[in-house]
């Protein structure tokens, strides 16, 4: 059976590997008061990738070799050192691999901290009630960085 989209297998396998390495996120989002509902920030942050995959024809879909390679390296480093943060970065790199590399996409990549527990750790002195809005605002700002804007014809 042919599918409408033809994803390169490795382009799917790398994010899956990284998602497995970052599975602690679920625990953090469920139990840590500073990280609660962080998955909402991930959904917002991920919107440009979803839009690109949904909007492209199968022949145009391609993942970045550099970012996918960096994701594998980072995920492995996270496993060897048992540092969750590296696993989270690996997942961000693997997901970012589906966008074209540009200054804007790199800026968007940096805003991935919005859904990571490290963001809650940095903002630990801030009121818990403020952390989720800050996460969402940062994820939204990142998504706007790479969201395609149609030029207005004069």
């Amino acid at each position: 059976m042919k599918t409408e989209k033809n994803f390169p297998l490795v382009g799917l396998a790398v994010p899956l590997f990284c998602a497995w390495q970052a599975r602690d996120l679920i625990n953090a989002w469920r139990h840590s008061p500073h990280d609660r509902l962080g998955w909402l920030a991930l959904l917002v942050w991920l919107a440009p990738v979803a839009r690109r995959i949904a909007g492209k024809k199968r022949a145009e879909l391609s993942a970045s070799f550099i970012l996918m390679g960096a994701a594998i390296g980072c995920g492995l480093a996270g496993e060897l050192t048992e540092l969750h943060f590296l696993g989270h970065v690996a997942l961000a790199l693997a997901l970012a691999g589906w966008l074209k590399i540009s200054f804007r996409s790199l800026a968007w990549l940096l805003t991935a901290v919005a859904w990571m527990p490290v963001f809650g750790w940095w903002l630990a002195p801030v009121s818990e009630a403020l952390i989720l809005p800050l996460r969402l605002a940062l994820a939204l700002a990142g998504a706007f960085c790479v969201w395609p804007v149609k030029k207005i014809e004069s």
Binding site: V10, F17, G73, L80, P125
Partner: protein, 195 residues
């Protein structure tokens, strides 16, 4: 991405999965004997075990944890010792955990102790004021730098334990508010400084 790039990535991914599986299977020497060997009674102090609650059990997982109530003189201390060799993620920044439990960190100061320094946190929640001290110990050196603790455990993991003994996190919470004379702790509970 051309097919050659895809092959390189696929090979890298397989190698990473294999390495991750192998690494995970290699057991690390833990600090179990140090943690469980701490004196329960001694000159001027007694103690009793405190059971872990369900949340603590789920957080600590396979980590070796001792939670004990010590009485030294007229003072009561809750002592938690965590050896994260079997579950490094059981060891958190205590300041972060206290904030998560609703406490505000009003201040922190260093505590000189044999083999290095610990840290004393001043905690506030509503009208309640408390203090807690913590430090990491590998049996020889003591410090209260969370990033250094992470680095120590990461290095141990990468070298299969060759970089040094397992560091343990020691957390001491007096139950009498903020009137503890911390300088006396090494004489009140000397076992904590032999870990």
């Amino acid at each position: 991405m051309n097919s050659r790039s895809q092959k390189i990535l696929a090979t890298g991914l397989l190698l990473a999965i294999l390495l991750a599986l192998v690494w995970d299977r290699v057991p690390l020497a833990d600090a179990q004997s140090r943690v469980t060997g701490i004196a329960t009674t001694g000159l001027g102090f007694t103690s009793r075990e405190m059971p872990l609650n369900e949340t603590e059990k789920s957080i600590f997982g396979e980590a070796q944890v001792v939670k004990r109530l010590y009485r030294a003189g007229r003072e009561d201390f809750v002592v938690v010792i965590i050896d994260g060799a079997r579950n490094r993620h059981a060891v958190h920044d205590p300041a972060y955990c206290f904030r998560g439990a609703g406490w505000t960190i009003a201040g922190e100061r260093l505590l000189a102790m044999p083999g290095g320094t610990g840290k004393i946190l001043s905690l506030h929640k509503g009208n309640e004021t408390r203090e807690a001290a913590f430090w990491f110990s590998d049996g020889r050196e003591r410090h209260a730098q969370v990033a250094r603790g992470w680095w120590q455990t990461a290095l141990r993991r990468m070298t299969f334990g060759a970089s040094g003994p397992a560091p343990v996190l020691v957390l001491v919470q007096p139950l009498n508010g903020s009137s503890t004379d911390w300088e006396r702790l090494p004489t009140q509970l000397p076992g904590l400084f032999e870990l």
